[in-house]
């Protein structure tokens, strides 16, 4: 009875042969799904190609040395000058201020949520912090211009320009707090309880355990979170466009206006530069610089994350 349904005249009922149509269908599906996965590789190649093509054109007109060491950036207004340093400095200033805010606060919050908070408190505070990451950057830009800058002007007086780097940096810092706190907390959470208990058993206070046992044990994950947050700050666009302005500047004074790499890219896009013009090519050159910077930071943080995962899993 068992194989009766499959019997065909002249056919070995126990043969283990397959179904060609079915096999073909399976192979087609396999191919389609592979294509979907390969699209991501194509995207990366497209980004690199697109950036490279115009960057090469740019460096045929502008010397690489001038680009990398020049201290004046004037891409749209005569006399033109293409020293990238002011834009890079603007980016570093904003990201730096953001880091000064996000790293201590984020780490502190992570320690609190990981080592002190009970489950109920954690289940309320952690999602609330996540909301900070979900607020669109344009909203942060608006907040910087309409609340932070006026209050800075109240405190510091006329030194604070309408466009200033500090306001942008603060707001980007608030934006990336959840990146630091979430990832650091994950790293700390993965530290085995036995390590903590050993330290408590030796008479350590909670402060001792947190700072001398947990943080060092989770260090690669924590540092990875810092780098990722800074990378995000480097790539941030709208908040700095609204709050920091579009004046390339190498000054150390955070109250002045600065232009970041991302803000310059937006500036060119708004001006609708024709294909092949030097402004259009400059856009891509700066984009390439930005891409390389963030890629390097992301790769480093991925390596660090892999290290901490290997240790505990």
């Amino acid at each position: 009875m068992a194989i009766a349904a499959r019997n065909r005249p002249g056919h070995d009922p126990y043969a283990l042969t397959g179904n060609r149509t079915r096999d073909l269908g399976e192979r087609v599906i396999h191919g389609l799904l592979l294509a979907c996965a390969l699209l991501s590789v194509i995207t990366t190649l497209a980004i690199i190609y697109v950036l490279l093509e115009e960057t090469v054109g740019f460096f045929q007109k502008v010397s690489f040395f001038e680009y990398v060491t020049g201290t004046k950036w004037s891409a749209l207004i005569e006399p033109r000058s293409f020293g990238i340093l002011p834009l890079v400095w603007g980016t570093i200033m904003v990201a730096g201020i953001a880091g000064v805010i996000a790293i201590p606060i984020g780490l502190g919050a992570a320690v609190y949520l990981s080592e002190y908070a009970d489950q109920r408190v954690r289940s309320i505070l952690k999602p609330t912090l996540e909301i900070l990451a979900g607020v669109p950057t344009i909203v942060y830009g608006f907040f910087a211009v309409n609340w932070i800058t006026p209050h800075l002007q109240d405190v510091f007086g006329d030194r604070v320009g309408f466009f200033n780097g500090l306001s942008a940096g603060i707001v980007v810092g608030v934006m990336v707090i959840p990146m630091v706190s979430s990832l650091s907390e994950d790293a700390m959470h993965a530290v085995p309880q036995s390590l903590r208990e050993g330290a408590y058993g030796l008479g350590g206070t909670k402060f001792d355990v947190s700072t001398r046992v947990v943080i060092p044990a989770a260090l690669s994950g924590i540092v990875a979170s810092f780098i990722l947050a800074l990378s995000r700050a480097v790539g941030e666009t709208m908040a700095v466009v609204l709050a920091a302005g579009s004046t390339p500047n190498l000054s150390l004074d955070p109250f002045q206006s600065f232009q970041t790499m991302t803000a310059f890219i937006v500036q060119v896009a708004l001006g609708d530069a024709p294909t092949g013009s030097i402004e259009y090519q400059a856009l891509f050159a700066v984009g390439m610089t930005l891409f390389v910077m963030t890629l390097a930071m992301n790769v480093v943080s991925q390596l660090l994350l892999a290290r901490y995962r290997d240790v505990y899993q």
Binding site: L32, E53, P136, F142, V145, K206, V241, A269
Partner: protein, 310 residues
């Protein structure tokens, strides 16, 4: 012999250490609170500026040079169209890639390379995707500043996030389900379609919704595509879709467009106070949309977690 009594009180040093520990507790709690406080201040300020300006008229009129008459309607419809097409593109491709990587790919160097690549793409700044979209879709493919160009760009931006979230949802499906189906003589795809996907789908959809909610707030890539122009019209309705077959001008996908965050930016960039209020009103609408989307995702996630009790 006189024995010293053992006293378990703390010395000065112990007390200092205890004090440090208590301050540390307070300090870290304040850090956590700082984030919450910042969020509250931000929300309060936005509501304060914009609530008065919010009205039904605001949602249904067109933008204008005059701040008190400026409306949000084209931006809302633009967002709907762009996000709709983006979703249609990312759902099959993103889920397909995730299925391939989790359930088909051998654990070799190619698979690892693709995974690393996807993780890197997720960290690329969104403006770079805008540059890609400008060069590839707007100029090279000559789609100009259309809804389609915008949607293709956003799809590429959002794809890595969807893939990563979908992979996690697939990983959560216990292997006993797969074993049971395969042992019955099901093929790999029959197992995936019949048993694994239905179980993983709520988790995958949650990931898609969260990815789209991030995309709705993105400004920079769409500015690069050219959504910034003064656009006093909506892309059109579903009834106009047949025009797309011939790529004629009535096709909504071909239309120029603006989206909510870009419109907000165009108002916020103007110095007049009245425009700041208009921008704030737009922000409230945007945040309300995001809140609804995220709530749907959370409800979906909770329902799905209750269902799966192995």
């Amino acid at each position: 012999m006189s024995a010293q009594p053992v006293i378990l009180t703390s010395s000065n040093r112990q007390q200092t250490r205890a004090w440090i520990s208590r301050s540390f507790t307070g300090g870290t709690f304040l850090c956590t609170l700082a984030g919450v406080v910042a969020l509250s201040v931000l929300l309060y300020q936005v509501l304060d500026e914009g609530l008065a300006r919010l009205s039904k008229d605001f949602l249904t009129t067109l933008p204008s040079r005059f701040a008190d008459r400026a409306g949000f309607e084209p931006a809302i419809w633009g967002s709907v169209w762009v996000m709709g097409i983006t979703a249609l593109l990312t759902i099959p491709i993103g889920m397909g890639a995730a299925i391939y990587l989790e359930l088909y790919a051998a654990k070799n160097w190619l698979t690892r390379f693709i995974q690393i690549n996807i993780a890197n793409l997720a960290g690329v700044p969104s403006i770079i995707y805008g540059i890609l979209g400008l060069a590839l879709f707007v100029r090279a493919m000559e789609l100009q500043r259309s809804v389609l160009a915008g949607a293709l760009t956003m799809a590429l931006l959002v794809l890595p996030i969807v893939i990563i979230a979908s992979q996690e949802a697939l990983r959560a499906v216990p292997s006993s389900l797969r074993d049971g189906a395969l042992a019955l003589g099901a093929t790999r795809w029959q197992t995936i379609r019949g048993q694994i996907l239905p179980v993983a789908m709520p988790g995958m959809l949650t990931g898609v919704i969260l990815a789209l909610s991030r995309a709705i707030g993105e400004t920079a890539p769409l500015i690069m595509i050219g959504a910034f122009q003064y656009v006093p019209f909506s892309p059109g309705g579903v009834a106009d879709l047949p025009d797309c077959a011939s790529w004629s001008d009535g096709c909504p996908l071909k239309s120029r467009f603006t989206v909510m965050p870009v419109q907000i930016y165009s108002w916020a960039a103007r110095p007049q106070e009245a425009f700041q209020q208009t921008a704030a009103a737009g922000i409230i609408v945007l945040l309300a949309v995001l809140l609804s989307l995220n709530s749907v995702a959370i409800v979906l996630r909770n329902r799905y977690q209750r269902k799966v009790k192995w």
